[in-house]
């Protein structure tokens, strides 16, 4: 999608990446790194793991640029790649019983101690906010992997049911079912904070 006449669109850029153009790759990375990082982090919940996955995803983008069909939308192709990579990672972790990949409390401490200002006037509120964020993270982490992916794609990427169906390779009905069940589970887990 060209923003102005001079800027190349995503489909043109990926074509150049297929011809091993590193500048085109940097350009594409710059456009989508925020989206991809956000999506992966919200899905995985661990910053270190998320960054590793983001690296692997963009490497996959570079390697499989030649497989992109010009008729398709680049963003859908990218989301599909991201979703599959995250889901595969989740299955890999689930198959190895070596403990949780997310430590909500540790992550909350690491991610928010420097980015969130502590309110000196109302520490009780600050504590409640911290607890609430942690509860939300835990609730999302406890969702089955496909429900979690559907929630993240809809809530944070604003994809429609049809677009999510295209990304996750399922029917619109299946997406609706995933989101409905996720909604019910999240409501049960987070009743206290609503």
């Amino acid at each position: 999608m060209a923003e102005n006449g001079k800027q190349r669109n995503d489909e043109d850029l990926i074509g150049e990446v297929a011809r091993k153009d590193h500048d085109a790759f940097r350009n594409l990375y710059g456009r989508y790194q925020g989206k991809v990082c956000g999506l992966v982090y919200r899905y995985i919940g661990n910053q270190g793991v998320a960054e590793d996955l983001v690296q692997e995803i963009f490497l996959k983008v570079y390697r499989s640029a030649g497989k992109f069909r010009p008729k398709a939308k680049f963003s859908t192709w990218l989301y599909k790649l991201v979703a599959n990579h995250c889901l595969n990672y989740q299955r890999y972790v689930r198959a190895r019983p070596s403990g949780s990949i997310t430590d909500s409390e540790t992550e909350e401490r690491r991610n928010h101690s420097s980015t969130q200002a502590v309110d000196p006037v109302d520490p009780e509120t600050a504590l409640y906010e911290k607890e609430r964020r942690s509860a939300v993270r835990k609730a999302v982490d406890s969702l089955p992997e496909r429900q979690r992916m559907a929630v993240v794609l809809q809530r944070f990427e604003g994809l429609s049911y049809g677009e999510i169906a295209g990304v996750m390779d399922c029917s619109v009905k299946a997406v609706e079912s995933l989101l409905q069940r996720a909604m019910e589970e999240l409501r049960d887990s987070l009743k206290k904070y609503c």
Binding site: Y29, Q55, F58, R133, E176, Y193
Partner: protein, 164 residues
């Protein structure tokens, strides 16, 4: 519409992912059903709560690391291509040939083992007194004009004449 049917579609209703007619039917139901409308409110609050799932600041730009990995892969491109041509791509064909060779070799080894150890031996009739009997393998091809062949001819002839 009944509550059970409505509650199954509440998320789709909230996202406007349904036909206008169905949406209107659900809206009509919600006007008169306190339980279902309360559920919509809870869903909505829960959905808004997800906004607290913020993304931390990213560490250093990942592009240099990615480009480094790409360059590393491409630098061993020639060697990799050579390995691909010599080993990885013909691997299925090589595996098939190895299997065939194994079958052939196995057959040859088995055959020689059978010939030397398993095949039943036939004791030839004693031709002259005092001579030790010797054995030939049944069904083995006898060299023409060999001693074994001569004995074999004699014994079959004598059997044909009814002699012992």
């Amino acid at each position: 519409m009944e509550c059970r049917g409505v509650r199954k579609r509440l998320k789709a209703f909230m996202d406007s992912e349904m036909s206008p007619e169905e949406k209107e039917r659900i809206q009509d139901h919600l006007i008169s059903c306190l339980g279902c409308s309360r559920l919509v409110e809870e869903f909505s609050k829960t959905w808004n709560l997800l906004a607290t799932l913020s993304v931390p600041e990213r560490s250093a730009d990942l592009v240099p690391k990615i480009i480094e990995r790409i360059d590393a892969e491409e630098s061993k491109g020639f060697f990799k291509k050579l390995m691909d041509c010599l080993i990885f791509q013909p691997a299925p064909l090589l595996a098939g040939l190895a299997l065939l060779a194994g079958l052939f070799l196995g057959g040859e080894i088995g055959n020689s083992f059978y010939s030397s150890a398993i095949a039943p031996k036939v004791e030839l009739k004693r031709i002259t007194a005092g001579e030790e009997p010797f054995y030939i393998e049944a069904f083995a091809d006898l060299a023409p004009n060999s001693l074994e062949d001569a004995y074999f001819q004699l014994s079959t002839e004598s059997e044909g004449r009814g002699e012992s």
